[in-house]
């Protein structure tokens, strides 16, 4: 499970960046700009630029040179997201940091058991009050737009 906690419709779109060749994007995927300058899915432990907010699409094999399609995304700063986790969140997870254990389009999953980096800040869990404790509310904590060193 992955979704925006609030409607991202009112958020300004990020500056257009050409999507990386053959990459599939699903709604609410975390994205970053890869070392070649193309928009791609965030990596485990990597920096986050924003979140894909389109309906879902796959870049063609020639996208970087021919179609040059730029997937829609919003910047990650201050955007509350909900992702599934590898285990139930507990109160002591709130205020802590974690990263992703799974970085598959449409199925990004937080690694609460054994995170090794601080890419996301945990704000809460079970946001809909459904006793769904592995639905975790997070904000990006290591933003690609900022120039600080990762821990």
């Amino acid at each position: 499970m992955q979704k925006f906690l609030r409607d991202p419709g009112g958020l300004g779109r990020g500056y257009p960046v050409i999507g990386a060749t053959s990459v599939q994007f699903t709604h609410a995927d975390p994205v970053y700009i890869d070392s070649s300058g193309f928009l791609a899915l965030a990596t485990a432990g990597g920096l986050i630029l924003g979140y894909y907010c389109g309906a879902g699409e796959t870049m063609s094999a020639t996208n970087q040179t021919v179609e040059k399609e730029c997937p829609d995304y919003v910047y990650a700063k201050d955007v509350e997201m909900v992702f599934g986790a590898d285990q139930d969140a507990t109160q002591t997870d709130i205020g802590a940091y974690c990263d992703f254990g799974t970085v598959t389009t449409g199925a990004f999953e937080l690694n609460l058991a054994a995170s090794t980096s601080a890419g996301l800040f945990v704000l809460g869990f079970d946001p809909d009050g459904e006793a769904d404790n592995d639905a975790v509310v997070v904000m990006a904590a290591e933003l690609q737009i900022l120039g600080y060193a990762q821990v």
């Binding site: 906690l5 201050d78 509350e80 507990t90 109160q91 002591t92 997870d93 709130i94 205020g95 802590a96 940091y97 980096s117 601080a118 890419g119 996301l120 800040f121 704000l123 809460g124 509310v137 904000m139 904590a141 290591e142 933003l143 900022l146 600080y148 060193a149 990762q150 821990v151």
Partner: protein, 154 residues
């Protein structure tokens, strides 16, 4: 003295976090999430500011963590200009530098401009005497070490 420099009413509230048991919150208190996952007023040697309390002032019940589960209202700290009193008059050379708090008391947080600690990067000073009253120990600051960010604190 502690206050928002500008009306915070237009700022969105932070995501609800249960207040720490018996925690007292006063308007404009800096807050963070403690190691147990509860919202608390900022303490010395903590890992950064999450936001500022914006309620009328309240004290959590001793059972708040397990029974009432009240979540104090706060706004996220980033970019919010605050005014705090300080331990000495602020001078122009303080502007553009960082400091931390010397007093961590609800309703009476006070900046430590005199220094002495090794890690004084909690707040960034952008001015003083904001009302032009020659009240030079009224210091305008922005949180410089944000708990929501995962970078190493220098």
């Amino acid at each position: 003295m502690q206050k928002f420099l500008r009306d915070p009413a237009g700022l969105g509230r932070g995501y609800p976090v249960i207040g720490v048991a018996s925690g007292a919150f006063a308007y404009a208190d800096p807050v963070y999430i403690d190691s147990n996952g509860y919202l608390a007023t900022l303490a010395a040697a903590t890992s950064g500011v999450l936001g500022y309390y914006v309620g009328q002032g309240e004290t959590m019940a001793s059972t708040n963590a397990t029974v009432a589960k009240k979540c104090p209202d706060y706004v996220m700290a980033e970019g919010v200009e605050m005014v705090f009193g300080s331990d000495q008059a602020c001078t122009q050379t303080d502007v553009g530098t960082q400091c931390d708090f010397g007093t961590y008391t609800s309703g009476a947080f006070e900046l430590d401009l005199a220094g002495g600690q090794s890690n004084e990067v909690t707040m960034f000073i952008i001015g003083f005497d904001p009302d032009g009253e020659s009240d030079t120990d009224a210091v305008v600051v922005i949180a410089a070490t944000l708990q929501k960010l995962g970078y190493a604190i220098v």
